[in-house]
């Protein structure tokens, strides 16, 4: 049966964000795209189990994460390696490389435990609520909150240590400048 174009557009509309999430999980763009492709194959084969009106991104993210866990995580060494490769992979996105601060951030993010990075990305970048993120990860809302908090704290810690020399005396000014640069 032909897919409802509205549903199809919802699926396609989620793909860019789904890819970004897949890269953060797998640490590799090619594998991320495989993961996205598998996710879409599975989702469209089971599209009847999606309830119209519910959260399409959350549904697709859940499928992708489960696929990653069940298939990719068996290769444990590779997955552990993904933490290191995550930083490498993202270097292929050169838009921001002119900014020392930004590179430091990427390196710091790559150092986070994967469950914390995942939670932080779902909430802080993908824009999911704590509740949706908990549903996607199959854990309690409190667990997600705790992971996000620990991720933020650890990031701040890493960034402070790594950037003492670069930051100069006035962190507040620096932060304002960084913020101003993006707006």
């Amino acid at each position: 049966m032909t897919l409802d174009p509205a549903i199809r557009d919802q699926v396609l509309g989620t793909v860019p964000s789904l890819r970004a999430f897949a890269i953060s999980l797998s640490g590799n763009i090619d594998r991320a795209d495989d993961l996205v492709q598998e996710t879409l194959l599975r989702a469209l084969a089971h599209i009847d189990s999606f309830q119209p009106g519910t959260n399409m991104p959350a549904w697709l993210f859940t499928i992708l994460r489960n696929l990653f866990r069940s298939e990719y995580r068996k290769r444990r060494r590779e997955v552990e390696d993904a933490d290191g490769r995550y930083a490498e992979t993202l270097k292929s996105h050169p838009e921001q490389t002119g900014r020392v601060e930004f590179n430091e951030f990427r390196a710091a993010l790559a150092k986070l435990p994967s469950d914390q990075r995942e939670a932080l990305i779902l909430v802080g970048a993908s824009g999911f609520s704590y509740e949706d993120a908990a549903a996607i990860c199959g854990c309690a809302v409190g667990t997600i909150k705790s992971r996000v908090n620990r991720a933020r704290t650890r990031l701040a810690d890493l960034l402070a240590i790594d950037s003492v020399d670069d930051f100069g005396p006035d962190r507040a000014t620096r932060a304002v400048l960084a913020g101003g640069g993006r707006s």
Binding site: L3, L44, F102, L120, G124, T153, S163, A178
Partner: protein, 81 residues
């Protein structure tokens, strides 16, 4: 802190050392307790950079082969490639 002993009435020397430590640790003084004590500007900055990183990928849009795949599957009768 909230006990009757009022620990914060310590000798000035100790207080100074603590302040110094905070400065030396760099700009995250409010975070020293390890909890969610991050300064607001730190949180804002982390959020901005996180989104910038993520949006780098998002801005690439839908790769052509993925778009083709979805269209192909959408038009199929059995839904299987």
């Amino acid at each position: 802190m909230k006990t009757g002993k009022t620990v914060n009435l310590q000798p000035p020397a100790s207080g100074e050392a603590k302040a110094e430590d905070r400065d030396a640790m760099g700009r995250l003084a409010t975070q020293r307790k390890g909890e969610v004590r991050l300064g607001r500007e730190v949180q804002v900055r982390i959020g901005q950079q996180l989104r910038a990183l993520y949006d780098d990928v998002v801005s690439e849009g839908v790769p052509q082969h993925i778009a083709d795949l979805v269209r192909k599957l959408s038009d199929q009768d059995d839904g299987v490639a």
